[in-house]
Structure formats: C-alpha cells, structure tokens
C-alpha cells in the first residue's frame, strides 16, 4: 500500500513540475512553427513570474496578476517580432537580448519597488492561487486504486496544472485541424508559398507570436503565484530552455512535446525522491550523481529512442519579399 502511495505522489509531482514546461513548449510550438526561433521563452517566463507576483500583490487578485503577465509577455513577443520579423534581425540575437534584459530588469525593479534585489513580498492566500481539491476527493480516498488515482493524483493541483494539460489537445486541434493552423505550419515551412497564396507572412508570424506570449505567461504565473508565494531572482532556472529542448525532441508536435516535458518532469521528481535513499549492497548514492540523473537519463533516452528532429524548413530566416 505504501508503495502505491509512493508512486501516486511521484506522479503527482511529475504533473506539477512539468506544468511550466508544457506551457512553454506549447508557446514555443506556435513561434517556431511560424518560422520564428524563440530562445526568449526563458526570459518571458521570468518576466511573467515577476509581473504576476507584483500585479497580484498590488491588486490583491492572482487572476489580475496573470492578466498583467499576459499583457507584458505579448508585448515582449511583439518586441521580438519587431526586431526579427519586421526588421529581419537575427532571431537568436533578439532572444538573447530579451533574456538578458529581463534578468536585469526584474532584479532592478524589485530592488526599486521593494528594497530587496530580486525579491518580491510574500503573497497571502488571497493574492495567490491555491490547490484545487476536486469534489469528493476526501470521501473517495479509501477506495483502492480509483481512490488513489482520483484523490492523490488528479485532485489537489493548482489551476495551472489542469490548464496546461488541457492546452495540449487545444494546441493540437488549432495547429492541425484549423485553417489558421494550416497557414501557421505553411509559413514556417515555405513563407513564399503563403505569400503567393495571398496571405500576409508578417501578420501570420505576429499572430503566432501573440499566442506564444499568452501561453508563456501562464508558465511564469504558475511559478510565482501558485507553487511559490513570491518572485525571486532567476526563478525560472532554465525551464524555458528545457521546454525548448522538449519541444525540439518532440519534433515541434504538441503530443510528443508533452511526452518530452513529462519525461523531464518525471526525472526531476525522481531525483528529489532518490536523494538520501540507501540502496542494498551499494549504500547511499552521492547526491551529485542523483542530481545528474535526469540529464543522463534524458541524453540516453533521446539518443536511443528519438529519431532525427527536423525543424520547420524556414525557421530562423527572416522573410524577404523583394530581392
């Protein structure tokens, strides 16, 4: 029985840890499917975390904080678009600039507003998202298997966790079942084909970036107003890059990107649990080795099981109409 509850709690943390990765990977899919590289997922996530925490602190409502984060992230995406779509600048350079800007900006603004470099005040219960307990979760807990599944795995998450996993089928549907999705994929593969079909390439890319901004805002808000109760310096901790990797390993496809995100989340959840565990015959494994486990596992799995990732054909290339 204890074994079962261990598994349940492992799955539970996997779902939680993967949440920002899923949002960011879905955001990345929109940008990159349209042909715009987005390394700035990391910076935007950090900015969203900061804005959500500050917004929610002042306005007293985490939803308003989220709304502000969405607005700011869409603006940042537009900035990326302005530099790399309209002015045909190098997309990677534009992203790196945004990332550096935001690391400095969040730290400086926190210092100016709250007197602490890179730290915002702790949010009270009204100012942050709380775990949602699904109906009858307590009553059903004692039923074997179904109880564990429902009460320990499905119930008790932040709203973002549910939204993240709901976003995956939604993204899939948009990208593959709608005319917008068809145009989105086409513009990342062969923008000239889109242009000669009478569709504005630039508008398409801006639309994709706007959606990208909305999605990434959820990832940031999850970090600072749900799992944590404040913003702290560089709290995104490379999740934006990890999500980008997941998206690439997932071949720019929502379903496989989800699997890659869950894999990252799972290995991370596992390594926390394995720390300090004594193995028979071997003894305690050094913490450093355990912490490296997710990355080792990732490399092994990806090298062994994922074929060659083929990027959208026109990715990274600004569209130039006239010679």
């Amino acid at each position: 029985m204890e074994f079962l509850s261990d598994i349940a709690s492992l799955i539970n943390s996997t779902l939680r840890i993967s949440t920002p990765l899923v949002f960011a990977a879905m955001a990345g899919i929109f940008a990159e499917r349209s042909g715009v590289i987005d390394f700035s997922l990391e910076g935007k996530m950090l900015m969203a975390a900061f804005v959500a925490a500050v917004g929610s602190y002042y306005l007293g409502n985490p939803w308003l904080g989220l709304l502000l984060a969405i607005i700011v992230c869409v603006c940042l995406s537009m900035l990326h678009g302005f530099a790399s779509v309209t002015h045909k600048g190098d997309q990677v350079v534009s992203c790196v600039a945004i990332n550096i800007l935001i690391i400095g900006l969040t730290t400086a603004l926190a210092a100016a507003w709250f007197g602490q470099a890179g730290l915002t005040p702790t949010l009270n219960e009204d100012q942050r998202f709380l775990e949602i307990h699904l109906p009858f979760a307590d009553a059903l807990r004692d039923i074997p298997v179904i109880g564990t599944l429902y009460s320990d795995i499905l119930s008790g998450h932040y709203v973002f966790v549910y939204l993240a996993y709901l976003s995956v089928p939604l993204v899939f549907w948009i990208v593959f079942k709608t005319s917008f999705g068809l145009r989105l994929r086409a513009v990342g593969e062969n923008p000239s084909a889109v242009d000669t079909a009478g569709i504005n390439v630039f508008t398409m890319r801006y639309k994709a970036l706007a959606i990208n901004g909305v999605l990434i805002a959820f990832a940031g808000a999850h970090l600072s107003t749900a799992v944590n109760a404040n913003f702290f310096r560089e709290m995104s901790a490379g999740r934006g890059y990890l999500a980008l990797a997941a998206m690439i390993f997932g071949k720019w496809h929502p379903k496989t990107a989800l699997i890659a995100c869950l894999l990252f989340g799972f290995t991370d959840a596992l390594q926390i649990r394995l720390q300090g565990v004594e193995l028979p015959a071997i003894g305690e494994i050094p913490v450093q080795l355990i912490q490296a486990l997710p990355y080792i596992l990732t490399v092994v799995l990806l090298a062994g099981f994922v074929g060659k990732a083929i990027a959208p054909n026109a990715i990274g290339q600004p569209y130039i109409k006239e010679r």
């Binding site: 079942k177 709608t178 068809l182 994929r185 086409a186 084909a193 889109v194 000669t196 009478g198």
Partner: protein
C-alpha cells in the same frame, strides 16, 4: 478585333538603383498563348510578379478586361483571375497536395464540410484535364513534373483565367515538357489565357500564338509567332545577330588521360548520390553528362574536383591514382597536376562575389609569380593582367575594380572561365557553364570550350540543358539516380532518346 484580357501601360519598377522594368506596355489577348522571351535579367519575371501582385510597380496601370485594377497583394490578383506558376515552386514540401491547394482559400475556420467539397471539386478538375494527381500524396514524394501540375491545378482551383508560367521547362525532361505543352494547349482550348515566360526560343516557336521580347528591362518588340523566326527573335533579345549553332571540327581523339573506376560518393546527409560510376575521357574530347538536376551530377563533379570525399572506387589522372577512399588530393594539388574546375554553383563556389573582379580573376594563383612576391601582392601586375584578360574574354564592363556581384551572370562566368582556362589545363571539369547566362555569352563560352578541346584538353561537361550537351559533346553519358544509365556517341542521338534515359525509363 479581339479585346485584350490583360493590358499593361507604362509599368516602371526599380530595385534600389537597378531599373528592372522601364515603361513596359503589353497587351495579351484572351484565349491565346502569349510568350514573353528575353535573356536572364531582362525583367520578365519581375514584370509578371507585378501582374501577380507580388511586387508593386512604381508607376503604370494594369487593366483586366478593360477595367483598371489595383494589385496590392497576390490575393487581389487571384481574385481577378490571375494565376502564376513560379520558377521555384511555391509548395510546402511536407504538406499534401490538397493542403497546398486550399492554403489561403480554406473557406472555413475549422476543417470540415468545405474541405470535403474542395476535394470533390479538385477530383473533378483532375479528371477534366487528365492530371492524374493523388490529392493525399505528400509533395516531397512527387516528381518535379507532378509538382508543376499541382501548381497548375492550384491556380485553376483558385479560378485563374490567366495563367502565367515562369520558365516552366527548366527542370523537366523532354517527355515531361511534351506533357506540359499538351496540358497548356488543352487549357487554351478551354478558353484560358496563358502567358509563358522563357528564354528558350524553341518553346516560343512550338507553343505560342504571339510573342513579346524583352531586353534589359524594356519591351523591344511584339509580333505574331508565325511572322517571325528563331534567328530574328534571338537578334531582338540580344540586340545583335547571334550564332545559334556551334561550329565544331571533327574530333581528334588522343589517349585516355582521365579515368574513374567504380566511384561512389555520399552527400552531406550521408545519402549515396553517386553509385558505382565508371568513365574515361580522352584528350581532345568533350564528354557530356546529361541528366535531370539532382541525379548525382553535382556530387560526381565535386568528388572529381577534390571537394568531396570519395566513398569507394578511385580516380586516375595520366594513369596515376589521385583519389580513393583513403586519401584524396585537395583541389590545389589537383590544379597543379593540370585539372581545372568550373563549378556549377558559381555564386557559392566559383567566386567570392563581394571581392573585386581582379581579385577573383587571380584567386587561387594569387600566391604565384608574377601576381605576388614574398607573400606580398603585386597590384600593378594584377591590374595589368586583369585588364588584358578582361578584354580577351570580353567581360563587360571592363573594369577590374568593380565588385564581382555587380557583373551579370554571363560576365561572372567569363571571369571564372578565364581564370580556369588560363593555365591551359589538361583536364577540365565544367558544371552548368551557361546556367543563368545570356545568349551572347553562351555563344562565347561554348566557343571557348570547343577551343580547349581542339587544343587537346579532356573536358567533362555536366549540364541540365540538353541542347548544350548535344551541341558540344563528342560522347554523352546519362545519369539517373546516381548511376550511369546510358552512353552514346553523339551521332544521330535525339533528345527524345536521351530524355527516356534521363527519366530512368529506358
């Protein structure tokens, strides 16, 4: 009197300082096949891109059926019944035929009923014109000929009354050209208007009712096709009379000096592109390689010139093994042994286009006397030499200090040719020598190659232009899918025979 379906008046268009179209006037009559002929860079594609709404003219007006219209994007043109098949197909390679055709004209936000209807309509269209296209096939699985049909189908589905085709035959085998022309004729019979952009005189004579000639951005003449001849059109295109046939002496074949044994070569993606190729070239002989683009000619030339590693097999020069899978000589060492290479991609491999002409003229020999002494360039010598050689090769403009990218394709090619031929190579590898080169320069380049042959060089000529292969070569081999599928003496060979081999059918 037939009324023109499309009428252009005083169209002007410039890109930066280059005026691509100058005061163009053009009338195209309904239900005709109208040819627009001109050399590369004459402004034909630009003009038609303006009609298709892709570029906007600086001034001038466009009328369709007598009504003046404003074309600010391809959408406007499509709505007004104009369709265009571009030289480089505007298809998304990993989409299906159906997806490519409905792109931009889905008619619904979420795919459902309209998609089904589109499919039925397209199947009907396919049947009408005998297109034989599987709508669910992925573009990357289709041959070039079929991709072109998809493009035509796309335009028809979008309601094109005027269909513009930009250099449609460049990538096709002769058989595919026949098929295309059949389709175009049947479209004409249906009452559609077709505009054919080309630089090939023979196509104009074959297919069109009327023809307009462009030269250096200007419209220099209109005529009914039946009232003109190839020679006359060529003269209008170039602005002087041109020799369309190459004069060639009887072959004086020497001994075999270049030999390739069981050669296999892989490309950058690790796909074997040249498969077990054997060939020999004698001095005083031109060996032509015919084939549709992408059948291993590029990789073969690269391996022979020392740019690409040999997977297996060997290459011999004067009986001495110069390359096999273990070691190969680099291009410089090959050059010293008397092998010269005119690469097929002149912008990328033949020239440094941001360099001045005189730098490109001596590049590769820049560290030899008299161009340099003790590692210091001798500018006076270089300039003198450049002036001399540019005159000799008729490079225009004759200014060694001009940046190379400002020269036309033909003149760039002359720069490369002069550099490679200057050392009197024993073996000359030439890839696509006249791609993007104007007729006047083609004549010159062909004559130079013949001169080299008569002087006893062994020449390997790879070209996708069958006419070029047929008029220059003494012997012809055909490559298909990396293999040599046929070898013929160039006597009474027809392009039909070669075409079958090129398509891998025979």
């Amino acid at each position: 009197m037939v009324s023109p379906i499309l009428e252009l008046t005083d169209i002007n268009k410039s890109f930066g300082h280059v005026q691509a179209n100058k005061n163009i006037n053009l009338k195209i009559n309904k239900g005709t096949i109208h040819g627009i002929i001109g050399e590369n860079g004459a402004g034909k594609s630009t003009l038609m891109s303006i009609v298709f709404g892709l570029y906007q003219a600086n001034s001038g007006s466009i009328k369709i059926n007598g009504k003046e219209i404003n074309l600010s994007s391809p959408r406007d043109s499509i709505i007004n019944g104009i369709g265009m098949v571009h030289q480089h197909f505007m298809l998304v390679e990993n989409f299906t035929v159906l997806e490519n055709i409905i792109l931009g004209f889905e008619g619904e936000t979420v795919f459902g009923e309209k998609l089904q209807k589109a499919k039925e309509d397209l199947e009907k269209l396919c049947k009408t014109y005998n297109f034989n296209i599987d709508l669910d096939a992925t573009i990357s699985d289709l041959s070039v000929g079929f991709r072109q049909r998809v493009e035509i189908l796309k335009s028809l589905y979008r309601g094109a009354e005027i269909l513009i085709l930009d250099e449609p035959t460049g990538v096709l085998t002769p058989q595919e050209v026949d098929e295309l022309f059949k389709i175009l004729r049947s479209l004409k019979d249906e009452g559609k208007t077709i505009v054919l952009i080309t630089h090939k005189l023979i196509e104009i004579m074959d297919l069109t009712c009327e023809v307009s000639v462009m030269r250096q951005g200007e419209m220099v003449g209109h005529t009914k096709t039946e009232d003109t001849s190839k020679e006359q059109l060529a003269e209008m295109m170039v602005g002087r009379s041109v020799l369309l046939r190459v004069d060639k002496k009887e072959i004086k074949k020497g001994e075999t000096i270049f030999k390739v044994n069981n050669l296999s070569v892989k490309d950058d993606l690790d796909v074997t592109r040249v498969k077990d190729v054997n060939l020999e070239i004698c001095s005083g002989e031109i060996l032509g390689i015919a084939g549709v683009t992408g059948n291993g000619q590029t990789e073969l030339l690269e391996a022979l010139s020392g740019i690409r590693k040999v997977e297996s097999g060997s290459i011999e020069l004067f009986g001495e093994k110069i390359s096999d899978q273990n070691n190969f000589l680099n291009p410089r060492m090959l050059k010293e042994k008397g092998l010269a290479h005119v690469p097929e991609d002149r912008q990328r491999m033949g020239l440094i286009s941001d360099f001045k002409a005189h730098e490109n003229l001596i590049f590769g020999y820049h560290d030899q006397e008299p161009y340099s002494k003790s590692a210091i360039l001798n500018n006076k010598e270089i300039t003198e030499y450049s002036n001399k050689v540019m005159q000799e090769y008729d490079v225009r403009p004759n200014s060694p200090n001009l940046i190379t990218s400002n020269f036309s394709g033909g003149n760039q090619q002359k720069i490369i040719l002069s550099r490679e031929l200057n050392e009197n190579p024993k073996v000359l590898l030439v890839g696509q020598p006249t791609r993007g080169v104007d007729i006047g320069a083609i004549e010159f380049i062909h004559q130079r190659l013949i001169d080299m042959r008569d002087k006893g060089a062994a020449i390997l000529l790879a070209s996708v232009e069958l006419d070029e292969i047929l008029s220059l070569s003494d012997r012809i081999i055909v490559m298909f899918d990396g293999k040599i599928v046929g070898e013929k003496e160039n006597k009474n060979v027809t392009d039909r025979e070669l075409g079958l081999l090129m398509a891998g059918v025979a």
